[in-house]
Symmetry: C2
Subunit: 364 residues, 2 copies
């Protein structure tokens, strides 16, 4: 295919929101990236264009059969004036794993990363610089063929949109209350739980609402087969510090292969903290709590990075963890990982990628 | 809300395809129905407009989190010159059950049926009259709020589009080969399997492709917990005639509550054929086949009505059913149900609804 990314600049730039008003995913930058796919042509016409509505036939398969996947990552404007991404190649590799599960044709990962960089450079004045803020980047693919048969689309759009975001929590890092879900199930082995696809999130909305009604901010998901093994928390991976050993559910096909999850595991190993990826039941967690061995618990994800769990509610009983406070290890992991992301902590892993203009794929 | 449905007629009518070219879901009529929702206003502005692309923000939640549901039903132009629908109130009731599961606000079912009728009357010249043809009607709801937080949208569109369709199979009713799926899972209890939502169909695409590769045309889904109990076939409910007793999986939360399924159960009872809704394992079906007691098997759904299963393949073994031919009961059920739908068989159930202009909700 022609890998030349064309750039059409917006002539009508939007006002930028104040850092204090950012929230999450409310404002979008001046440009977006689009690339089309047709079965006969493959992926074609990669382009940066002004951010604008897209026009689709109401029979487009994405509306009916949910053939769509997405990714999420952040760009940081760091104190040295550089723009940094965190392990973007991992996002694009996972994007293609999700594509394969959803019968969507693979995208060229190198081109996708270049598209990401070009879009970020085009809208670099949108990257907020205040503490805890960043530019959230959302690549996604949607099936656009206007055909109602239940089968894979022959036409797709790959897009990237971007949103300046504040801290996931106003205080930066803040323990949350979690409702252990015993009725609803997010995903099951053999399903699409390990793909970053729309249906997993749609399936979570009802349980999330009920968690709110219980005064919790997220759901802890148990497995769909035995209803006892821990899977995820909200849309994050989850870790438990039991007596100094950090345990997280093993990737079993129904859990998302989180990039923050992987980074935390590597950081823990680097810090010589024992870490185990294995099956972990809610009973084991409750028993550890009752015996005073549950030191900390936290979720991991791109949006919040580390989200400490201050309290679990299961079958009507409240289990307060670490007095409802952020644990020592949670804080250390948060500081280290966000430090690497922002270039203030030495990156011995080669995770942080500086975005610099690379003209070989560009035409203006 | 204001229940007045406004109608804007198309000034640019499309050519109509030949009956022989119809296929399924390839052509769309000249008009569509739209109604909008905003949390502050509720559902508003119900309207029939020319069929046209819809314009959405690329951050619309439907693209990212799959918050969408749909329905499917058919309109028939019958020999007496009347337009008939089949149990449309059941579709709209299920639409709201799906809405509830996906945290989408309910629509007014009476208004939705009126919208359906107005749209059909507006495009009545699109209803094909050849044998086995009909007008397929697709109501659906999509989440349109441009906000990337994982929570229920505050804005939606309810739409109805229509497509003239041919017979699902060229021969009318035709036995198909089915691959019993032992790796992929469609849905699990506690999930969204009993809602007509996009994610269930997205989750089925990969298995469907592998079924094609095995020379089968559909997948027989087993349950996600034990991997042995029969759930659905493709996107249809499934029935087995074992020694004269017709057995279909009981509704357990992961199976779609099919309107054709319900109609077949009622028809069987009316015909004094023993029918059982219960848990049914693949082992029981295979044993029945080995003992010569598996008389017939068939799928049921709006698109094909009855789809006989001529052959099952499970764990490498082929099980030919009824010599690969359409069974006597399958044929009788097909003839009776399609006869009721088309007004040629007496409808003692009150299922067939004639579409007649009802002006009280219309303004032109």
């Amino acid at each position: 295919m022609n890998k030349t990314i064309t750039i059409e600049l917006s002539t009508n730039k939007k006002p930028k929101p104040k850092a204090s008003e950012l929230g999450f995913g409310k404002y979008y930058t001046d440009h977006m990236f689009i690339m089309d796919y047709d079965a006969a042509t493959g992926w074609y016409n990669p382009r940066v264009v002004p951010y604008q509505p897209i026009s689709l036939d109401p029979a487009a398969k994405v509306f009916h059969y949910g053939q769509t996947i997405f990714e999420g990552l952040k760009a940081y404007l760091t104190d040295d004036g550089k723009i940094r991404l965190f392990r973007p190649e991992q996002n694009m590799a996972r994007l293609n794993r999700s594509n394969a599960r959803l019968s969507i044709p693979a995208v060229d990962e190198e081109l996708a990363i270049e598209a990401l960089k070009q879009l970020i450079l085009t809208d670099s004045d949108w990257i907020p610089s205040d503490a805890e803020t960043s530019l959230y980047v959302r690549p996604f693919v949607i099936a656009t063929e206007a055909q109602l048969g239940v089968n894979a689309s022959t036409q797709y759009m790959f897009m990237i949109i971007m949103s300046p975001v504040g801290s996931y929590y106003a205080e930066g890092i803040h323990p949350v209350k979690i409702h252990v879900e015993s009725h609803y199930v997010r995903a099951v082995r053999g399903g699409v739980g390990n793909a970053k696809t729309a249906g997993n999130y749609a399936a979570s909305l009802k349980a999330q609402e009920e968690a709110y009604a219980h005064g919790a901010s997220q759901v802890l998901w148990l497995d769909g087969v035995h209803r006892k093994y821990i899977e995820e928390v909200g849309s994050m991976n989850v870790f438990f510090n039991i007596d100094g050993t950090v345990v997280t559910p093993a990737l079993n096909g129904s859990i998302l292969d989180g990039i923050t999850r992987d980074s935390i595991i590597r950081l823990l190993k680097h810090m010589n903290v024992p870490v185990e990826e294995r099956q972990l039941s809610i009973d084991e967690v409750v028993t550890a709590h009752q015996e005073g061995r549950l030191v900390e618990a936290f979720g991991t994800g791109t949006a919040a990075v580390i989200s400490p769990i201050g309290e679990l509610t299961w079958e009507g009983t409240r289990y307060v963890i670490n007095g409802g406070n952020t644990g020592e290890l949670s804080q250390k992991l948060y500081d280290t990982l966000t430090g690497i992301q922002r270039g203030t902590v030495e990156d011995s892993f080669g995770w942080s990628v500086v975005v610099e203009p690379s003209e070989h794929l560009i035409s203006r």
